[in-house]
Amino acid sequence: MRKLLLLLSAWMFVATAVAHDMVMHAKTSLATSAAFAPDGTLWMIGLNANKQLAVRTSADDGVSWGSERLLDTGTDVVAADGENRPKIIFGPHDIIVVTYTQPLAKPYTGEIRMLRSSDGGKNFSAPFTVHHDRQVITHRFESVAFDAQGDLHVFWIDKRDVISGYDGAAIYQALSSDGGATFGPDSKIADHSCECCRIALAPDRSGGIAMLWRHVYPGSIRDHAFARVRVASTDTTPPVRATFDNWHLDACPHHGPGLAAATSGGFHAVWFGVQQNVAGVRYAHLDANGKQLATPLVVPDRGAEHAVVAASGKDVFVVWRSFDGAKTQLTVWSSKDEGRFFVTHVLSSTQGESDHPQLVQKGDRVFAFWRRANDVFVERLGQ
């Protein structure tokens, strides 16, 4: 019997290997994140051509980049596809946190993994799993942020509560009050989130974290929910519906929202949706409780996708990419009056592959960051 098992296993291995040999050349994943360190150095993190997790730094706001530095992830495979990408954030006391999703053996499963540095990035810990739940299920699409007190919040999409008839997944959180050295229990924020979209975070005026995520409302309506997590806490305001496209979809949009704190209060939100058969990226100014303050505006580009938003003073920047049939453009929509009026400006374009755009902030300066097949575009906005 054992021989039979061995024989079958060998057969399976050979069959799979043959299939592997037939695939085309593997592409380099461009899914990258970026952030400024407290000393003003710009860091980016993503996979290299060998699918290894690597960081590069720039001391001149992205004009030039240092050589690649590999991070030791042990035997982990690092997910970097769609809106699932490695991330890096900077906290107090020289703490740097790197997170990613490690896919597990079963499809659509994963664990949220973390590397931690407490010396400004000179050394990083071995990877460890953030959540306490160890089932081979979905723990994916993590988002991570430090609150005003320096506590570390990790949010992710989780399927531990899924039973027959349950729509979507759930949003869970883990809190660390020691910069990621230890974490409290897994805490549920909401049932029925969408399964494959990023969770947007922004600092809340109270010192906590505001969240916006794609939700599955009754009837498989894919709008967005908003909640705030209190500082140094897993206490969360009850989720409220923040968008009203009424997009009915029994599928995965792979298109999460963006969120930024507004100087005068509330938040700037961007999201993709289909409203009355019109697809588009929309913008709205939300109040502190996630309620829209005005009718959403549609960005003037039918091809706009994966938009992000950032704000500094009264300036608001919405950046997206779109493909026009010949090239992919990076476009910014700029407002100088907190989102009442916008002007459009094409920042750059490429005829090759490109990642989703990002916005990174260095004090009150906002930069567009866009990884492309052969380079990285970085430009300060609002000058």
Partner: protein, 155 residues
């Protein structure tokens, strides 16, 4: 070794082997800028093409639904899967991909390839093209209804 455990292991192995062989006996085909145009001309009708992603949790259901529909109606219609992300071949050696008779993988700029299929497609999956005996593809984002399936096979 418990005989029940051994039997279960054998069953699992056979299932996985079947998937592996199902992938191994056909090449993973490259999906380029002109592939969709060619497929529409080449595929015998009716046919179904499912644009999917390895990270799409709702996609297996559609492939299973279409394969079941064709089997129940004793139709030898092509069921094609097109994987739009940077697929690791290991992630394709799973059960639901084995239901497709041909498997393509996006080879090039994903945004440009999506545009070549449908300029209004923003990457939602599953994105399903039902090619009836005549006429253009009927597009469905998500899971086709019974009515849509009946119409596809009747037209």
């Amino acid at each position: 070794m418990n005989i029940l455990v051994v039997l279960r292991a054998c069953l699992l192995c056979l299932t996985l082997c079947a998937s592996g062989v199902a992938l191994a006996d056909r090449p993973l085909e490259s999906f380029g800028n002109s592939t969709w145009s060619s497929l529409q001309k080449e595929l015998p009708r009716p046919a179904a093409v499912v644009f999917t992603a390895t990270y799409c949790a709702t996609c297996p259901q559609v492939l299973k639904q279409l394969a079941t529909t064709l089997r129940e109606r004793h139709l030898d219609a092509p069921l094609v899967a097109v994987v739009i992300d940077d697929a690791d071949p290991a992630t394709l050696a799973i059960e639901h991909y084995a239901l497709a008779q041909r498997i393509f993988v996006f080879d090039g700029d994903e945004a440009a390839l999506r545009y070549s299929v449908d300029p209004q497609w923003h990457g939602e999956t599953p994105f399903v093209a039902l090619l009836s005996r005549q006429g253009p593809a009927k597009w469905i984002t998500g899971i086709p209804s019974k009515k849509q399936l009946a119409l596809w096979l009747r037209e």
